[in-house]
């Protein structure tokens, strides 16, 4: 049988007969209602926790009537506490790069499951990881930059509670527009460089700064047609190495998408390039591609035998904890090396670190 029409008919008949074997007549409605009640209880538990944080985090001040300074019983309101941002860092998602306050942590952003258009927040709210490397999952009130990545399998469906911390979301499932969220927070979402950029804050200046900083990603390719490859490894090597650019890619529909980018400091770049934290035995490649996630580390430095500026690309497979430093030359990564590479937002961006269950 080779004719496509015959094969299609065979598929149809085979599936129809197979479907007839399903056991039906189950109490589906009753089960579904019980499931819905469980989901509602779980959601309210999360909402309750958020509300408790709002109560604790809010700063209550007395608002006095304009002409009667003595009166103190008009009403109370929550006053935003906004400190000026003095330092910014770049954050990238696909082809979008923006500046965010340098002391903000990392977390999640609304995403949609393919079976439902309702945005859900799977993790947070608030930073799941602080810039100091500390996990903050239980706190919920730390400002964060979020990406649409499942950090937990317990998800909160939109509409979300008023935020208790400002945030920037890259690529979130949010329609463009401006929304007042309560407690003085305004959320602005724009389409930028092929994705969405959302910023919510009580500070209009901060929102403006973030939105105006949107630009195309240039330090890393926004998308690669295939997994990153090692490149440009000069035999004599680089000396000295003065920087390293880290680009994290995750397999998407049509190739590998950039999900995170960071610049390693000079000391880390030099230690890594010198082989500190690399195993000495070749690693087996049986594990390769376990999570379809790769880090490309592009070292920049001087040609050890000349004065030209050169680059060399290594490819780290974080799921397998190994690094390819030349074509087919794969070494294991020791824990200290992996820790140096991930002293940033990567632990809450890549599945290799998050795990499949969030």
């Amino acid at each position: 049988m080779t004719d496509d029409a015959d094969l299609e008919r065979t598929f149809r008949e085979g599936l129809r007969h197979a479907a007839g074997r399903a056991e039906v007549g189950l109490p589906l409605a009753a089960r579904a209602k019980a499931g819905a009640r469980t989901r509602r209880r779980r959601r309210w538990a999360v909402v309750g926790a958020v509300a408790a944080v709002v109560t604790v985090a809010g700063v209550t001040v007395v608002v006095r009537g304009g002409n009667s300074p003595e009166r103190s019983d008009d009403h109370t309101a929550t006053e935003p506490t906004v400190a000026p941002v003095t330092e910014w860092r770049a954050e990238s998602w696909h082809n979008l790069t923006v500046d965010v306050p340098a002391d903000w942590g990392w977390g999640t952003a609304p995403l949609t499951m393919s079976f439902d258009d309702t945005p859900v927040l799977c993790g947070g709210p608030g930073a799941d990881l602080g810039v100091d490397g500390a996990r903050r999952r239980a706190e919920g009130d730390a400002p964060w930059v979020g990406r649409p990545i499942m950090l937990s399998d317990a998800c909160l469906a939109a509409p979300f509670q008023a935020p208790v911390a400002p945030y920037v979301w890259l690529g979130a499932a949010v329609e463009p527009g401006t929304e007042e969220l309560g407690d003085g927070y305004t959320q602005e979402t724009v389409e930028a460089f092929g994705t969405t950029l959302t910023v919510a804050s009580q500070d209009p200046g901060l929102r403006r700064h973030v939105l105006e900083s949107a630009r195309a990603t240039t330090d890393c390719e926004a998308r690669l047609p295939s997994r990153p490859a090692v490149a440009g490894m000069p035999i004599e090597g680089l000396d000295p190495v003065h920087s390293a650019q880290l680009c994290a890619y995750q397999k998407g529909e049509d190739g590998f998408d950039l999900v995170y980018a960071a610049t390693l400091d000079e000391a880390t770049a030099q230690a890594l390039y010198a082989g500190d934290g690399l195993g000495s035995q070749s690693a087996t490649n049986l594990c390769a591609g376990k999570f379809d996630e790769y880090l490309r580390v592009r070292f920049s430095g001087k040609d050890a035998m000349g004065s030209a500026e050169l680059t060399a690309d290594w490819v780290v497979d974080p799921g397998c904890q190994q690094v390819e430093i030349g074509p087919g030359f794969v070494l294991p990564l020791k824990a200290a090396c992996l820790a140096a590479l991930t002293r940033n937002g990567l632990p809450v961006v890549l599945r290799s670190f998050i795990g499949m269950l969030g």
Binding site: M1, A18, A19, L26, A29, A32
Partner: protein
């Protein structure tokens, strides 16, 4: 006195079915669909319950859509894919058992087994594309919308599945 119906007044739109009414009418069909999508009774029941729990929560909206079936089937497909993504393993696929098939049934059972085996080898997204195409008779564009991928991707999934079935049947014919 008899009252004549007012011919000029448009007929009131029929009330949407209640959740219970709709599940009573469509539940069996959903389970059969889920069974061929997931490959096992257990996974089918999980996916259907997951989808129906969500549909129940928002039945005010879902029940008024022109086609709640499509909405819920989409949820079933995606509940299964999501579950698979979380666990990264296929639900155990039930073997097709036909004890002592009659001679005239042997061919049919053999072919059905081949279809089932091909489906079992497919990743859930590809399997869903095949089921939606050949069990639900959806157009490629509809499947693409449902699976949130391009039409070309769906065609590729289906084409590969046909190739796999051809290879399996050819092998069995030898």
């Amino acid at each position: 006195m008899d009252v004549e119906p007012d011919a000029d007044r448009p007929a009131a739109a029929p009330a949407p079915p209640t959740f219970d009414e709709w599940v009573a009418a469509r539940g069996s069909s959903l389970l059969r669909f889920a069974y061929v999508v997931t490959g096992s009774q257990h996974a089918a029941e999980d996916a259907v319950q997951d989808a129906l729990a969500r549909a129940c929560e928002r039945w005010d909206r879902v029940g008024r859509t022109t086609d709640p079936d499509t909405y819920v089937r989409r949820m079933i497909v995606n509940a299964h894919i999501s579950r698979w993504r979380r666990t990264r393993r296929e639900s155990p696929v039930e073997a097709l058992v036909a004890a002592d098939p009659q001679p005239d049934l042997a061919d049919r059972v053999g072919t059905e087994s081949a279809v089932w085996a091909v489906c079992a080898d497919l990743p859930p997204r590809q399997r869903a594309a095949v089921v939606l195409r050949f069990y639900e008779d959806l157009e490629y564009a509809e499947i693409a919308g449902l699976l949130s991928c391009s039409e070309a991707t769906v065609r590729s999934h289906v084409h590969r599945a046909l190739g796999a079935l051809r290879a399996r049947l050819t092998e069995e014919d030898r």
